[in-house]
Symmetry: C2
Subunit: 137 residues, 2 copies
Amino acid sequence: MRYKQLSDKKENLTKHQEIVLELLEKANEPLKAYSILFNLSEHGVKAPLQVYRALDKLIELGKVHKIESKNSFVACINSNCKANSNTAFTICEQCDEVLEIHDKKIFKKLGDLANQGKSKLNKYNLELYITCKNCLK
Amino acid sequence: MRYKQLSDKKENLTKHQEIVLELLEKANEPLKAYSILFNLSEHGVKAPLQVYRALDKLIELGKVHKIESKNSFVACINSNCKANSNTAFTICEQCDEVLEIHDKKIFKKLGDLANQGKSKLNKYNLELYITCKNCLK
DNA sequence: CATTAAATGTTATAATATAACATATGTAAT
DNA sequence: ATTACATATGTTATATTATAACATTTAATG
Ligand SMILES: [Zn+2]
Ligand SMILES: [Zn+2]
Ligand SMILES: [Zn+2]
Ligand SMILES: [Zn+2]
């Protein structure tokens, strides 16, 4: 197996992958690809492709998720997401806060919705637009 | 109240709205906006905006849904979707078949996932990537 | 018919994402 | 260390998706 260390250890992300991930972790909110690009222009990231390639890899590693309905990206805060691309988020429509849903049974729950067991669930993408508890007050 | 008939009766869609909806209903699969545009160029639809405006209205009416992760649009086959923009689909990764999920309790089920009842679910977008029962064989 | 909201037409442009191809770098086998 | 190979980078151009801005038209209401 090639690139064993690069694949298995998070410390061995490439430079671009690392700074994109760091930026997303600091941001604590979804960022758009071009916003990442502008933020990192001082660090040698000069073209959209450099951002998209880093994002693709980070998504593949489960370290970043894409929020499809916002064309935005967030750092994963759930160590269980390592090897897949499932995403489940709440998004407050008032304050834009985005939180990753933690629910150990979510895969089963969503699988049940799929087709009463006749089909096989591979991956899910769930976006719940809410009014968060702070904004409800 | 203005435009009462236009708002309440599906027969009173505007011309563009009607032909876009008809195309989507005939297609039986998700179509992209520009594919709709090219398909309808013979019917006087000549610019992206004309498609997007019709789609926006149809989505607002619940007659069309957007599949966010595919930037595609489908006609609603569920008469219950009238007044909102909730979407729930299965998407077969092998054959690309897209089906709208019918589940009367889905709103409650997803609401439970949101935040143990501390937040208010307004709208959901669920995309389940599956291998459908035909492709499993 | 005057008022108003909604819909259309049109041109331009913004925002998001990928193609294509050349070069460089890290890993493993000989 | 040389070769082979996969992955990563750099760069330019282009494709795809979506909206801004503004003028004009159409349809319902009173
Ligand atoms: Zn995660
Ligand atoms: Zn909020
Ligand atoms: Zn529907
Ligand atoms: Zn299938």
